[in-house]
Every structure is written in structure tokens, then in C-alpha cells.
């Protein structure tokens, strides 16, 4: 595979080192097979609180927070639903049949972590794809330069955070990366209580039962392996453990003052590689275990169980080869397989969901071919088959091909790229088998599928004293067989292949630097259409937009270096979002400002102050039945976002 072919659109730029926010920006080779955005923990202009805040500024990405940092957070890529995004951590797929929607807040963040967001298409060799894109979160690599990082922070709402990372060499040529992170917060911010407020009389309430505490640890080894005198190889092993206690506050209309979720996650992955022919072979294996234990009160508005524990077990592996079989051609071939088991444990206060297992197998191909100097073609394809069974004996299974083609043309100073293909997502366990009586599954569900085309251009150049990098991409997606729980019967809902949607958008990622000044901005414009619904009008059917997708999403930061200090001002703005399925409830635009100051106080030691939502915006104005009404800000007012918050941090770095 070509060097840097993991490349990315949004990661067009890699700073030479973390400290060099205003250093020269360079464009790394970018992908043929897909558009990918990259965010590095070391390169963020903002103080990062969690993994969601790492990827939040990327184009094409909308992070939907259901509260403050560490509250349940979902990821939408190019307007996808959160369960249509695959998430891979340290080479281990975290999303599967049991948990298609992953809480981003539960992802660990360590010094040196890097996130890559594959927008729509992902390399086939990553594993079974997704309908809407893939987030790959890489922990600190043992092969990285030796360094030690310690980052500690304290802030509003009882927030305290610690991240420690260390990479060092071992005797015998091996290397080890270790990382620990921990955080806690109360997140007891105040919000406008819509039920207690009345026109002209605002009542603010304090968010209760919204805190969390989490600790994560990781060790990764990279060990040289010499298969023969002329055939070196490597063994990489990564292990991770997580423990988390998450309070669940519910909505402002239906608060759940005692609900909490205790969870733990353990995963391990190993990769063994060696040279073979004109390339290298590699074998990977992984396993993960997740335990979840939900507690709630009997009278909870959530109407769920008072106690429910469950375990998710997954394991898998792959074998592949990648190399250059011919001049100008890069190829990766891989076969993979996995197994997943969902096992409900003790359930009190509600029927137990059915247990389920799923076995999957797939074959993948990623190929690039430099047809002529300025033109490279790419192809990526997978064939996936899976079969599953629930504890009630219900059996399901399917075989489905997916793939896409791409081309990249270098027309200096611009590089053009385009891709087209199909993606798919198999139904989840709850969609196939139901849950607790309220949700009825359908074992005959078809996988969700979509056709997507995208095209874009990028450039990186110097114009006088200005270093400029710009990438613009547009996309269109036609999705069908989308699965939704349709109200069925007097009180239930049934999974149904009812959804159809069209999405189109434009993504812009821009960076500019001149002297001590630097500007970064990403913008996503999105137009969606729910082709299975109608707006709330009569006389015909007008298709509404999909709820929760902003038409405009802008993240920008401007930095200025003054001596040892870097001053930052930033903006996060979203607009053009609706809250309901008929598209009649417009969510007010919100523009949140932020600012920050970083000062290098000594060699390797930096202190920082970040202020988010600096103007303390806590309400938005909706259309009400008798006139405008104020509601809490948020993607929907039932999940309010906090007002102004502070974070003071210090970072010690030893090494490059």
C-alpha cells in the first residue's frame, strides 16, 4: 500500500509536532479509496475533554451531546444515524449487533491518541463496514517516538481529568506504550426548566444525576520478530481495560434521578506480521468483553427494568497480505471472521431481552493503481456473510457484497478525488429479536443499504507569506431499507425496513497560517430528505428533513502566538436543524463562542485555560403556540447543554 494511503481529507495537515500550532503545515498524501478526516490529540487547538471533543471539529461530523461532557454522546457522519457508524478502537470493532450505537463519551482518550473518521467509505480491510462511515480511534502507538506526557485538568461542574502516556524502548528492540486516563464530573449545570417556566417567568433548575467517574488503562507492546535472516517481522499486542460509572439524568421532561449505568470493557488485540514477496503478510486477532449493569427506580419514567446486567463478548481475527504486486499497483487482500455473543444477566422489573449470538465472515480487497502519473484509480470491495441465532431459536443470516470505486487526479496545484459505491449495515440484535416486549423484532429484516457518491478537491500551497490548505468535498447518499421502530399495537413498536432517505452535502476544511497567526475552520452543509415521511401539511406529501441533522455546522478557531503564549478564540455554530420527524419544529440556531490561552511556562510544561460557551448561551427561542418561547439549548431541548464552563489544565511533555 502506498505510503500514507490512509490519508485524509480533513487531516490534510499534520503539524510537525504537537507544540507547533503555528508551524508549517504540510499536506500528507491523501486517500484514493475514501475521504478521511484525522484529528490528533497532540494537535488540537482546544483543550480536549473526551474523545468526542477530539473529533467534533472534523468536517462531515456532527457530535450530538445529550448533556455536558461525558453525557451520552453519539456520532453522525454525513447525516447518518448514530447506529450507522462503525467504531474501531485499537483495531477492535466496538460496534456490533448488540450495541450498534456506541456512547462516544465512553471512549477513552490518551496522550498521542489519533482519531480517523472515514466519511461514508472505509477501507475494506478494516473489517465489515457501516452504512454511514467509520471512526477509528488509535491509542498511543508503541512504535511512536519515546516520550512521556502527563495532562491534568480541573474545571466547572466538578470536572477533574488526568491523562498519562508513556512510550519507551525495551531491551531486545521492543517498545512499550502505556497509558492511563481518569475523569470524574458532576455535570450539575443549571438549565431553563421548560415545565416550570412560563411566559415572562424563567425558572432554572439544576441537572441532577448527571455525573460520571471513569478510569482507563492501556498497554501496548511492539516486539520485533525475525522469521528468517532476511524476513523481519513484528508482533504488536494491545490490551485495554475500562471501568465507568455513569449517572443517567434522563430528559428534562422525564428525569431519572437515580438511574445509573456501571460498565466495564476489556479488550485485547494482537498483530503479527512478516515479509512475503513484494509485500507483507499480517495476522490479527482481537477480543473484547463488555459488562453493563443498569440500575433504576421502579417508578422511573424510563419504564425500564430496575436492574439489568448484560455481557457482550466478541472475538475475531483476520489474515491478509498487502504489497505492490506490480509497478504502480498497491493491493491488500484480507479475510476476516468474528463472533459476538450478547448474554443478558439478572433482570428485575422487566422482561429479560433475548440473548443472541452472531458469527460473521468476510473477504476484503483494497487496490490502488496508478494508471498514469497524474491519475490513480482505486477499488475496494467486501463480501460479508453472517448468521445469528437468538436464545428463543430464531435464526437469521445473510450474505451481502459492498464496495466502491475511486479515482484521484493530481492537477497541480489541486488534487481531485471522487468515489462511488454502496455501503450496508446488518440489523442489530434488538431489531432482529426485540427487547422486553415493548420492541418487537423482525428476523426477516433486510440490511440497511445506501449508495453514495462523493467528489472533492484539495490543495496545499504557499501564497506569499500565507500557508494555505483547503479541501472541499461534496457528497450524495441514497439510503434504503432503513430500519425504524414503527409504533405497533397499543403500546409497542416493531422494527421495520421502512426508511428511505436522501442526503447531500458539502464539506470544507480550511487552514491558513501567516506568521504567528493560524486559522482553522471546518464547515459541513447538509440537506436531507426523509422519503418515508411527510411534512405536517395536507393536500400532498412534502418530504421533511431528517431530524437532528444541522443544515449548517461550523467549527472554527483562530490562534495567535505571542511569545510563549498562544491565544485562541473559537466558534461552534449549528443551524437549520429540526427536532421532529415531520420537520415542523425548528431548533433555534446556536452559536457558541470559546476562548483559550496556552502558555509554555517551562521546557516541556504548558498550562492552559479554556473557556467554553463564553457568552453563557443557555436558551434558544422556539416558535410557540402563542408566540415565541424560550427553551434550553441543545440539539433538542429535552437534553440541555451547559452554559459557560472553565477548564484549567497543565501538560508536561518529555520527548519530541
Amino acid at each position: 500500500m502506498r505510503a500514507g494511503s490512509t490519508l485524509a481529507v480533513a487531516a490534510l495537515f499534520v503539524a510537525r509536532q504537537a507544540a507547533a500550532q503555528t508551524d508549517e503545515v504540510i499536506v500528507r498524501g491523501d486517500p484514493i479509496g475514501n475521504f478521511v478526516s484525522t484529528a490528533s490529540e497532540r494537535d488540537s487547538p482546544r483543550e480536549l475533554t473526551d474523545a468526542a471533543s477530539l473529533i467534533e471539529p472534523l468536517p462531515g461530523v456532527h457530535v450530538r451531546r445529550f448533556g455536558a461532557d461525558d453525557a451520552f454522546t453519539t456520532l453522525s457522519i454525513r447525516g447518518s444515524s448514530s447506529n450507522e457508524v462503525a467504531i474501531v478502537l485499537a483495531g477492535v470493532p466496538l460496534t456490533g449487533g448488540a450495541d450498534p450505537t456506541l456512547d462516544l463519551a465512553a471512549l477513552p482518550l490518551w496522550p498521542g491518541a489519533v482519531a480517523r473518521v472515514h466519511r461514508s467509505f472505509a477501507p475494506a480491510s478494516l473489517g465489515p463496514g457501516s452504512l454511514g462511515g467509520t471512526l477509528v480511534l488509535d491509542p498511543p502507538r508503541a512504535t511512536a517516538p519515546e516520550s512521556t506526557d502527563v495532562w491534568a485538568a480541573a474545571g466547572s461542574f466538578g470536572e477533574a481529568r488526568l491523562r498519562v502516556g508513556d512510550v519507551r524502548a525495551l531491551d531486545g528492540g521492543g517498545r512499550v506504550a502505556t497509558a492511563v486516563s481518569a475523569s470524574r464530573a458532576d455535570d450539575d449545570f443549571t438549565y431553563l426548566d421548560p415545565t416550570a417556566s412560563s411566559p415572562g417567568h424563567d425558572v432554572y433548575a439544576q441537572r441532577e444525576n448527571a455525573g460520571h467517574a471513569a478510569v482507563n488503562g492501556l498497554v501496548s507492546w511492539a516486539l520485533p520478530v525475525r522469521w528468517t535472516e532476511a524476513s523481519p517481522g513484528a508482533l504488536t499486542v494491545t490490551t485495554m481495560v475500562q471501568g465507568r460509572r455513569q449517572q443517567l439524568p434522563g430528559t428534562v421532561l422525564g428525569p431519572t434521578p437515580v438511574a445509573r449505568l456501571n460498565s466495564d470493557r476489556e479488550l485485547a488485540s494482537a498483530e503479527l506480521s512478516g515479509a512475503l514477496g513484494t509485500g507483507a503478510w499480517s495476522a490479527r486477532a482481537w477480543g473484547r468483553r463488555e459488562g453493563l449493569e443498569l440500575h433504576d427506580a421502579a417508578a422511573s419514567p424510563a419504564l425500564g427494568p430496575t436492574l439489568a446486567d448484560q455481557t457482550i463478548l466478541g472475538t475475531g481475527g483476520s489474515l491478509g497480505w498487502r504489497g505492490r504486486p506490480a509497478q504502480g499497483a498497491d493491493l491488500e487482500l484480507r479475510v476476516d471472521g468474528s463472533g459476538e455473543r450478547f448474554a443478558p444477566g439478572v433482570v428485575e422489573g422487566a422482561p429479560s431481552p433475548p440473548g443472541a449470538t452472531r458469527g460473521s465472515a468476510g473477504a476484503a480487497l483494497d487496490a490502488d493503481w496508478r494508471a498514469v502519473d497524474a491519475l490513480t484509480l482505486a477499488a475496494s470491495g467486501r463480501v460479508d456473510g453472517w448468521s445469528g441465532v437468538a436464545t428463543d431459536g430464531t435464526q437469521t443470516g445473510q450474505v451481502r457484497p459492498t464496495g466502491h470505486l475511486g479515482a484521484e487526479a493530481a492537477l497541480a496545484p489541486v488534487i481531485l478525488a471522487a468515489h462511488a459505491g454502496t455501503t450496508s449495515r446488518p440489523p442489530s440484535f434488538i431489531e432482529l429479536y426485540g427487547d422486553r416486549g415493548a420492541f418487537t423484532g423482525d428476523p426477516t429484516l433486510r440490511p440497511e443499504s445506501a449508495w453514495t457518491v462523493d467528489a472533492g478537491a484539495r490543495t496545499s500551497r504557499r501564497v506569499g507569506p500565507v500557508r494555505l490548505a483547503l479541501e472541499v468535498a461534496g457528497f450524495g447518499t441514497w439510503a434504503q431499507d432503513l430500519i425504524a421502530f414503527v409504533p405497533t399495537g397499543a403500546t409497542g413498536a416493531k422494527a421495520t425496513n421502512i426508511g428511505r432517505a436522501r442526503l447531500a452535502g458539502v464539506e470544507v476544511d480550511a487552514r491558513a497560517a501567516v506568521g504567528p497567526l493560524e486559522l482553522r475552520a471546518s464547515y459541513t452543509g447538509l440537506a436531507t430528505e426523509d422519503d418515508a415521511a411527510c411534512t405536517a401539511v395536507t393536500g400532498g406529501c412534502t418530504r421533511p428533513p431528517l431530524p437532528g441533522r444541522p443544515a449548517n455546522d461550523l467549527v472554527g478557531d483562530a490562534m495567535a502566538r505571542v511569545g510563549p503564549a498562544v491565544v485562541r478564540v473559537g466558534v461552534d455554530a449549528v443551524s437549520g436543524m429540526v427536532a421532529d420527524t415531520s420537520g415542523s419544529i425548528g431548533v433555534p440556531p446556536r452559536v457558541l463562542g470559546s476562548t483559550g490561552l496556552r502558555v509554555d511556562v517551562a521546557r516541556g510544561l504548558r498550562v492552559a485555560l479554556d473557556v467554553r460557551n463564553v457568552f453563557d448561551v443557555r436558551t434558544g427561542t422556539y416558535a410557540g403556540a402563542l408566540g415565541p418561547v424560550r427553551e434550553p439549548i441543545g440539539d433538542y431541548y429535552e437534553y440541555p447543554l451547559p452554559g459557560r464552563s472553565f477548564l484549567v489544565s497543565a501538560r508536561f511533555t518529555e520527548g519530541p
Binding site: D193, P194, T195, A196, S198, P199, A205, E208, G250, T251, V252, L253, G254, P255, P257, A298, A299, P301, L303, T440, P487, T488, G489, A490, T491, G492, K494, C534, T535, A536, V537, T538, G539, G540, C541, P547, A579, D580, T581, S582, S584, I585, G586, Y622, A623, G624, A625, L626, G627, V629, E631, Y637
Partner: protein, 370 residues
Amino acid sequence: MKAGALVVAAGAVVVACGSASTPAPSACGASDALWVASDYSSSATGALALSGGVTSTVGRVDLGADPALSISAGRAFFVARDTDTLFELDPTCGTPTRQFSVHQASRSGTSDPQDVAVAGDGSLWVPLFEVPEVAILSAAGDPIGTIDLSPYDSDGNPDATAIAIVDTPGGEKAFVALARLNPYPTSVQPSWMLRIDVATATVEATVALAGRNPFGTMQDRDGVLWLAEPGNFDDATEPDAGVERFDTSTSTTALFAHEADLGGSVAEVSVSAGCGVAIVADATAVNATSLALFDPTSGSVVAPASASPLATPGFDLEGLAWSGGAMLVGDRQRASSGYPLHVFDGACAPVERPDAVFLPLPPIAVGVAQ
């Protein structure tokens, strides 16, 4: 019934008229019924003429996502159950004209108002579902008291679902239906009717209902309360489920038509002088709905669900009322022009008119205030 007078000159075109802070109540002319609709994501309300005219207020966040329609003493209320707000509706136009908050500070989140009854002095009585109370607002809308309902179920909340205020021989009384779902949300113990003296705001009596799980609002017709009591929706043959007739003058009650005879669990009931009609649901997982007709005098079933003039493949029929001699039935299955409100003439020998009334969202309730 009004003479089908035009609500909106443009026929079935919806007019979103909620943007003004105080919509003019008489700007829309006459109407035949009011409606409330919701897809449980957003809600709408308005008025309709049987000839096809519809006005509507849509896209207003404070209408919430879980509404009900209450009509009492000639006044109509949009009950935004999830936002603790009552919107009084113009009885002709269906446009919101005033709003009242019934939020109880003792509870964070929604107090979940279910219904509204207007007392002779103009005060509003509102049973709450998430707080075991009946909230009382003055005629001006100020909270003036509550009635504690917690003693009426061992779990501390008897799940009040509906209220009616009636002039009885003993004076003005409020009747509050208590589902008593315990363990929640199952119906395994008898449901009750609470009788409250309006003048003193004190509970006078509890009456065990013959059926279980009073569902939705009650219809007050000449001092008789008609209750839909499905029991449990997964069983259409329960002996203590069906249509209940509660006589407020004597506080006596009886199961008037059994669900086994009607052919399904009763989700809604509406009675006119010559015919009673119920929306019934079968006991399958989809709870397919249909209509059952019964004699409001004898209780004999005229047409069970198996002979329904209207049936749907799922739990689709919602909203049931009589407007003059016409029977109105809401349908949550969208047609090309919107969600139809089916209109039948002929009382208990129903003949359906061609669909002419379409709503912008799936119907929840329909009623006549005038």
C-alpha cells in the same frame, strides 16, 4: 352540528395560524369539530368542517409530543401532557387562545396532566398522572389548590386518567377515574372512580369500577359518564373490560358492553342519542383496530368488530366523536392528502362518506365543544 360551514376557504389546505401571540378566535368562521393530532414527535391542533375545511396550528414546540383533547362546559383544551401546559382552544377555530401551567414544583420533569374539567365557578380541575394530585386552577389560571390522591393506591399513585365535573342531585361533583396500575403499568387490581365535592374540594367516596384500566378521557352525556376500559390489550376476552356506564346521580356503575361481545379491547367510546360506538383493538401484537356499535340504552351490541364498517391492519383508529348525526373516526394511516378523518352517517347503520377531511399529523382525538 354546524352546517359544514367553511373553516378555511382554501378547503383542505392547512393554515398554520399559531404564530400570532393571541390568535383571533373568530377569524375562521364556523366548524364542526376540533381535533388534536400527533406523531409523538410533534403535535398539532385545529378545527374542521365535515365538508373538508381544516385549520391547524403546527410546528409549535410547546404543544409537546403527547397531547390530549379535553372538552368541558363548552370549553376546549389542548392538554400538552409532556410539557405540563393546557392551551385553551377557541371552540370554533381550535386555535390556542390562552395557556395554563399545571406543573407541580414538587416534581422535576413533567407532572403529566391528563384531562381538564371546568367547574361552575370557572376553575379548572386537572388530574395529574406522574404526581398523585388533582391540580386546581382559578378561573384566571392561578393555582389555588391540590387534592392528594396518594392514599388511593398502595404504590402512592393511583394513576388518575380522566375527570368530569357534573351537577348531581348532591351538588357539583368531580369524578376522577383512577386506573390504579400496580405494579405499573399492568392492570391487575380494580380501578376506581373518585367522587370529590367541588365546593369543599374534599373526597367523598371511592367507587370500584366494574371494568379495569379506564383509558383516555370520559364522555359526559347528561350526567352519565362513558368509559373505555380495555383491561389489558393482549386479551380481548377479559370479563371485566369493555364499555362502562357510570351514573353520576347515584354513583353506581356497570359494565355496559363487554369486550368479548364487542370483539376487542375498547380504546375509545363515544355515545350519541341513538348509537354508541367504540374503537376496539384485537389481541394480536399489532392490536388491529375496528369499530363496534352498541345500543346506548340497552347495551346490546349492534355490530361487533367482525362487522365493523371500518378496520385497519394496526392500532390506527384514534379519535372518535359524534358531530350532530355524523360519526367521526380518526385514522393514523396516511392517505395521499393527509391523515383521514372518516365520517359516517346513519347512526348505528353507518354509511361512510367519501373522505374529505384530512389532518396534517396522525389524529389523537376529535371532539365538539359547542
